[in-house]
Structure formats: C-alpha cells, structure tokens
C-alpha cells in the first residue's frame, strides 16, 4: 500500500499533470511511439534503420536526418506560436494558464533558434558543402555523426520537459535571477541548461568540422576565391561558431553550478552578479543570429545567380562583406540591454558598431539586385522566396537600425516593436532563406523535385501571413504593448491589431500545411517529379553529379578553373565525357555505432543531472568516457571502394541519362 502511494507520489512529480492539452500530448506521444515500434517491426526495418541511418557517417544521410528533425521542430515551435497568438487574440483572454503561457514563449524561442534554425542550417551544410567543393565527405565524418546525435538527444532532452518534469519558463535566454534556484525552484530550468548544453557541444564540433573541410578538402584548382558563395557563407558562419559557442558552454555550466552546488556566479546574494550572465549570454547570443543568417545569405546568392542565368554580381565584395559581418558580430552584444545602465559612452560604442553592420548588409542587398538586373529571371519557388526576402529583410534591417539608436531604444526596449523587428529578420531572412535552400537542393537530396504549384500556394500564404501577423506588432509596440504580456484589458485598445496579428499567424500555419501537403503529394506522384542531376540548369559542382549523389559523390575529382565551373563546362562542352575515364579506389570512412551510443549516454547523463539523480548521471558519464576510449583504440575505421563498383555505379547513371 505504502509502496503504491510512493509510486503515485513519484509519478505525479515526474509527469506533468493537470492540463488537458498536455495530457492529450502525452497520450499522442505514447501512441505514436508504439506505432513507430509496430511499423518498424512489421516491416522488419530495424536493421535497415540501424545500418543505413543511425550508424551512418555519410554527410548526405546526416544532412537528411538534420532536416527531418528540424521540420518536426518547426511544427512544435509553430504550434507554440499559434497557442500564444490564440491567447493574445482577445483582451482578457484566459485560453492558456499564465504559467503555461510563460513556458510556451520560452520553448517557442529556444526551439525555433536552437532546434529548428540551427539543425536546418547544419542539414544544408552537410548536404551541400562537400558537393560544392568537390569532396567525398566532410573532414571528420565520425565527428559529424557525433554532432548530429548530440543535437538530436539535446533536442529530445529539451522537448521531453513538457510532458515530464515541466517546461522551463524563464524566457528563451533565461536571465538570472529569475532562472536561479531562488526564483525557479522547479526542474524546468535544468532541462533548459542540459538540453542546450548537449546540443551546443555538437554545434561546436560541426563548426570545427566545416572550417577544416572548407580549408583542406577542396578539389584541385578551387582556390578560396573560386568557392561557391554558399560555401563562403558556411565558412564565415563556422568562424563565428568556434568563437561564440564556447562562451555559451561556460555560461550554461556556471548557471548550472549556481543551481546545483550553490555557487554564486549570478545569484543576488553571495557576491554574484546577474548582469554578468546577461553580458556572457549575449556575447554568444548576438553572434548566434549572424551564425544562422549568413548561410541564408549564401543560399540567396547561389539561387539568385542560378535563376538569373548570370554570374553573381560583386563576388569579392560579397565575400568581404560576409567576413566583416563575422567580425562585427562580436562587437554589438550590449545593444540587447542599453537600458541596463552601462552609461552613455558604452552605449554609444555599441550603437555605432550595430549601425555599422547595416553597411556590409546593404552591399549584399545591392549585389543581389544587380545580379538580377538584366538577367533572364525564372520564377521558381527558390527564386520566389529569394525575391520576397529582399524587401522583407530591408524593412526588418531598417527597424533594427531604429532600435540601435540607444536613446530611442529606451522607448522600444522589450516592446512588441522589438518582437516584430526580430521576427522580420529571422523569418524574412533565415526562414525564407532556408526554405529557398530546401526547395533548391531538394532534388539533389532525394532525386525528385517538389511540386511547384503547391509550393507557390505555400509561398503566398507564408508571405501574406507574415505581413498580416507582424506589421500590426510594430504599432502595438509603439502603443506600449510589452513582450511576454500574458493578457491585456479592453481599455488598452490593443484588441483589433492583436486579432489581425493572430489571423496572420494562422495564415502562416496554413502555409506550413501546404508545404507538408506539397512533400506528400510529390512523393505520391514521384514519377512525374523525378529530377535529373541538374534540374535547375545550375552553375556549381553539386549539379554535375547524379541526384541523389552516389556514396562517394565524385567518381573522379573535378579540376576547377573558374567560379561557376559547371556552368562554364556546359557552355564550352569541354566536359563531354570521354570514353575511358581512369578510376582509382576511393577511400571512405566506415559506419560507427559509437556516436549514437555516446550521445544516448549523454542524454541519460543530462536527464540524471536534471533530476539530481547522480546514480544515473555518473554511470552515464563513465559510459561516455568508455566510448571515447573505445574510439581511440579502434584503428579499423576506413575502407576502399573498389574500381569495379565505381564503374558499375557510374555506368548505371550514364545509362539512365541516355
């Protein structure tokens, strides 16, 4: 009897209870897990899943897994957003509990930046960069797999908090003292810390991996200034990653030590300094937004030149602008808290450095416009997203310059004006960019294109929805509505604009459904959508090989002479395949189970630390160490693909092409 009571007691603390919506989620999570197990067993797919995906070190497979996860996370973050918009649609609304509302705005922010934008970006890095630079894989395929699984299990740890233990609710950057034990005694904050920490280690490793890949693995003849612009953008983004992410690691570790062993880094008592957290987290956080936006700039550059049938205008200035942005991104962090009282001199420095970023960004905008000027434009879906991005990002950037004026910021700070600004640059810049990239490289990933008709529906719904949702928020901000407001009364007069904004939010939600439909439709009618190796008449090396690319990418490494090498080859017809190509055995990495196992152990360690269960955390950490030692002792990590196999694969492709 007593034992039953204690189990009940434990379960009521372990699971989140008392909210019908969350109960529904718990049930549906349970059911879909059962369904997954049943399907995998019924079709005898466990071995396939393990060999072909979970233990794969192939950059193309890892990229696809990143993208699948990020689309799921986009769904969850989007549901959070719509729940918030429902709550705010009417004055004095009580659709959500206030505590639940706090959790939702926290998880919406974290998920959209760290578990949606970042993995979608890494997915595109993985799929595109080795193909663009003529490499067989990334520099460290094993580490790459580890990065993915660290992200995956970090994201799972963060997401599980909403049904087990309780979500974090101190905002997406968790400022102390609110995030300290004194003000957030629940375990939600621990989920925040460990979820982000574990996936952050993966992100850091990806940064290192792609810097080395880009610097050392380029095909003969491809000098740095002949690299495709997306590869340049990935390089600039990774440079920011390796300088910014260690700061995040330290900041989260210190916050955890405050909560776990009673240290006094950011506490109100004991000499701690909460402002230091805010400085540290933004020293990572501001560069972080440039980490996610620079690759989007790279995508726009590649898309715009492909669909204008022209060389990119101002290649050198584009590279220079991106590197300048990488550098400047480290000197603007204080603009997130001008109101904190650092004094006029400090605020002036950071106001000017912030405004300075508008200059290289402006250069890029003009480069894209001049690329289109007198081009033969083709309005495919990737191009539509690119064209829609330009005005959206210009307006978002302009309101950013308004916010950077320190005295004016005292008025705008933490108002809906700010909310509208950063959604405009993050949706209009990052999300539009990654959608453009996803549509552009989808045929390369899967060998079939996405239905253009449905894609255009999705595009227009997203775009109209975006302006309907966020333009009213600028005015709400100027009318004094602050961010994270749970509700407001009738007499504030914010009702109508909020209702309009909510309608816009739902339009974007419908746009997302159209994208899902588009994918499902294109798979169902896959025969009509089969893509050749070069469906867009592309310019860079990834279009010179089959779609999807063979395991080794390039049977023979191409020699590059110009920036748009594949385009030039097509123009000169010089690459006309001569009969006898000389193949050599190709050196490839073997699959490994260690990344998956080690990251799973990290998940258990994190889960143990979240609950303060050292009996779980310590053995799991020992397991992590054993995995590292096991890897160090394994020497049989590579193999060669024999020439015969290459010949067969290539012949099959060429046969199909004729």
């Amino acid at each position: 009897m007593r034992m039953l009571d204690s189990i009940k007691q434990f379960a009521s603390e372990f699971f989140v209870t008392g909210d019908p919506m969350i109960l529904g989620a718990q049930v549906s999570i349970g059911l879909s897990m059962v369904a997954m197990v049943v399907v995998l067993t019924m079709f005898k797919k466990w071995g396939w899943l393990w060999r072909e995906w979970l233990t794969s070190v192939d950059h193309k497979r890892i990229g696809i897994m990143y993208i699948i996860c990020s689309i799921m996370m986009l769904f969850r973050g989007g549901v959070d957003a719509l729940l918030m918009r429902m709550q705010l649609a009417m004055p004095d609304n009580q659709f959500l509990q206030p505590e639940h509302y706090n959790q939702i705005f926290t998880t919406h922010g974290v998920i959209m930046i760290l578990f949606m934008a970042m993995p979608l970006m890494f997915g595109l890095f993985n799929i595109v960069v080795p193909l663009q630079i003529g490499a067989r894989d990334v520099a460290y395929p094993f580490l790459n797999s580890l990065s993915f699984w660290m992200f995956f299990w970090g994201a799972m740890l963060f997401n599980v908090s909403f049904v087990i233990g309780g979500s974090p609710d101190a905002g997406w950057l968790s400022y102390p003292p609110l995030s300290e034990l004194s003000h957030s005694p629940g375990i939600g904050q621990n989920f925040y810390i460990w979820g982000i920490q574990i996936s952050g280690i993966g992100s850091l490793a990806t940064g290192i991996n792609f810097i080395v890949t880009i610097l050392k693995m380029r095909t003969p003849g491809m000098t740095l200034m002949k690299m495709p612009m997306f590869t340049w953008s990935v390089f600039s983004s990774c440079v920011i990653i390796i300088f910014a992410f260690p700061i995040l690691t330290v900041t989260l570790a210190l916050l955890f030590l405050d909560r776990f062993v009673g240290a006094h880094f950011f506490t109100l008592d004991g000499g701690g300094n909460p402002m230091m957290y805010i400085n540290l987290i933004w020293m990572w956080g501001h560069p972080e937004v440039y980490i996610v936006v620079l690759p989007a700039f790279g995508i726009f550059s590649d898309v715009v030149s492909t669909f204008s049938k022209k060389k990119l205008f101002g290649y050198k200035s584009m590279v220079f602008a991106m590197l300048i942005i990488s550098l400047l991104s480290f000197f603007t962090w204080v603009h997130h808290f001008f109101t904190m009282g650092s004094g006029a001199d400090v605020n002036i420095f950071f106001a000017i450095s912030t405004m300075a970023i508008a200059i290289p960004t402006g250069v890029k905008i003009f480069n894209w416009l001049f690329t289109m000027y007198r081009g033969r434009l083709k309005f495919t879906t990737p191009m539509l997203w690119t064209i829609a991005f330009i005005p959206c990002f210009v307006v978002g950037g302009m309101t950013g310059v308004l916010l950077s004026v320190a005295p004016a910021d005292f008025q705008f700070h933490n108002s809906y004006f700010l909310i509208a600004h950063f959604h405009q640059v993050l949706i209009g810049g990052v999300a539009f960019g990654y959608f453009a990239g996803l549509y552009y490289w989808w045929p390369k990933m899967f060998g079939f294109s996405l239905n253009e008709h449905l894609g255009k529906w999705a595009f227009w719904l997203w775009n109209i929805g975006f302006y309907v949702c966020f333009m009213p928020q600028y005015f709400l901000g100027l009318d004094g509505m602050t961010r994270r407001t749970y509700t407001y009364s009738w007499d504030m007069g914010w009702g109508p604009l909020n209702l309009v904004s909510t309608i816009g939010g739902f339009l974007m939600g419908i746009g997302f459904l159209f994208q899902v439909w588009q994918i499902a439709h294109s798979i169902k009618f896959i025969k009509q959508h089969r893509a050749s190796g070069d469906p867009w008449d592309g310019r860079t090396l990834e279009w010179s090989i089959p779609s999807p690319a063979p395991i080794y990418n390039f049977a023979v490494l191409p020699t590059v002479k110009t920036t748009d090498e594949w385009w030039e080859q097509k123009q000169n017809k010089s690459a006309a395949t001569k009969g006898d190509v000389h193949y050599e055995p190709i050196h490839m990495p073997k699959n490994s189970a260690i990344p998956f196992i080690k990251s799973t152990l990290w998940f258990f360690a994190g889960f143990g630390f979240v609950w303060g269960w050292l009996w779980l955390a310590i053995p799991a950490m020992i397991g992590v160490a054993i995995c590292m030692i096991a890897r160090s002792f394994s020497y049989d990590t590579d193999y060669y693909i024999p020439v015969e196999e290459i010949k067969q694969t290539e012949a099959a492709w060429k046969g199909a092409k004729v």
């Binding site: 520099a139 460290y140 850091l204 940064g207 290192i208 991996n209 810097i211 080395v212 610097l215 050392k216 390796i242 300088f243 992410f245 260690p246 700061i247 690691t249 330290v250 900041t251 570790a253 210190l254 030590l257 405050d258 062993v261 009673g262 240290a263 006094h264 880094f265 506490t267 008592d269 004991g270 000499g271 701690g272 300094n273 230091m276 540290l280 050599e584 055995p585 050196h587 160490a625 030692i629 160090s632 002792f633 020497y635």
Partner: protein, 203 residues
C-alpha cells in the same frame, strides 16, 4: 601488375599522411575554442574576484610554496613531453614511452597537490564553492584546468598502450603530436592561472 600495386600503395600512403595532418589541423582549431572557454572563465573570475562576501580573501587563502611547487612540476612535465616527441622523431619507441611515463607521473603529482590544496581549503578554511562569488570563480577556473590535466592523463595512458602494441606509425605519431600540443597548451593556461589568480591574488 607489380607496378600498379606499388603505385596504389604509394597512393594509400600519401592519403594516410594527408589524413593525419588533417586531424592535427582540426586539433589546432579545437584549441582556439578551448582558449575562448578559458578566456570566459578568466573574465568571470576577474569580474568576481573582489566579491568575497565576508569570507576568506585570496591573500588569506593562497599558500604560495605549494603553488610554486605545482607550477614547477607542470612546467617540467611540459619539458618531458617535449623530450618524448624528440624520442619519437628519432624512432625510439622506448624513449618515447619512457618520457611519456615521466610526464604522467609529473602530471599526477600536480593533480595530487592541487586536490590537496582544494581539500585543505574546504576542510580547514571552510572556503567552498558556495562561500562567495570569488571562491565560485576560483574553484571553477582552477578546477577546469585541473580537469583538463586529468583528462590528458587518461588519454596519455591509453596512448601508451597503443604505442606499445603498434609502435610508431603515421597514426600513433599524429596522436602523440596532438597530445603534446594539448599538454603545452595546458601549460600556457597554467601560467595565466598562476599570474592572474595566485600572484595577483597575494600581491
């Protein structure tokens, strides 16, 4: 036929060499990230080091003779790890392993002294991580360095097993070079710890 085989072997050898230098290069980049990690901890310590919250101050707490001993031991271990690399370049596996063992012993003595220092602070002076912001910063900064050294020790022991089984190959050679980089890096970090934390603390 024989010619072709020799060619492909030669090719494989070249490839292996590239492969190993790629890993060393990546380790340099990793060291940049580790620099930023320690930089953040130093910045935190410097911001907080006056906030003693009525607890012991640096001057009362630090006992320099022990710290100076630790410093000399770690600097010497950096020197011996250099000797190990020299032995490796001469192709002398015994010398390489021997100097690595000396390096491990010195590193282990460093850790022992550090743990003793922490122990006496906690037990005798009641100076714990939760006493004050200064001590939080101190324990985490110095402790992170100590943790790095401890990881290096385990790594070196594992490497000795690999060396005794496989001898000096392209792969083990790269591994020794990487760990000696790591070890020198920790030495440099310690010089900053010694200066910023200890010397400036008692000045």
């Amino acid at each position: 036929m024989a010619h072709a085989a020799a060619h492909s072997e030669h090719h494989a050898h070249d490839h292996e060499h590239d492969h190993e230098s790629l890993k060393t290069f990546g380790f340099w980049i990793f060291l940049i990230t580790d620099c930023i990690l320690f930089g953040s901890l130093f910045a935190t310590y410097i911001v907080l080091h006056h906030n003693t919250n009525g607890g012991p101050t640096a001057e009362e707490l630090f006992k320099m003779p022990g710290i100076i001993a630790e410093t000399f031991i770690l600097l010497t271990s950096s020197f011996t790890s250099g000797l190990a690399v020299l032995g490796m370049h001469k192709g002398n596996t015994k010398q390489l392993i021997g100097w690595l063992i000396v390096t491990i012993l010195l590193g282990a003595s460093f850790i022992t002294l550090e743990v003793t220092e922490f122990y006496s602070m906690v037990m005798h002076e009641h100076a714990t991580i939760s006493t004050s912001a200064f001590l939080s910063g101190f324990f985490v900064l110095v402790g992170t360095h100590g943790l790095h050294v401890s990881v290096g020790l385990v790594w070196m022991i594992g490497l000795i097993f690999q060396l005794s089984r496989r001898g000096i190959t392209a792969v083990t050679k790269r591994k020794v070079e990487v760990i000696s980089l790591y070890w020198h890096f920790l030495d440099v970090v310690w010089i900053f710890v010694f200066t910023v934390v200890y010397l400036m603390g008692v000045m």
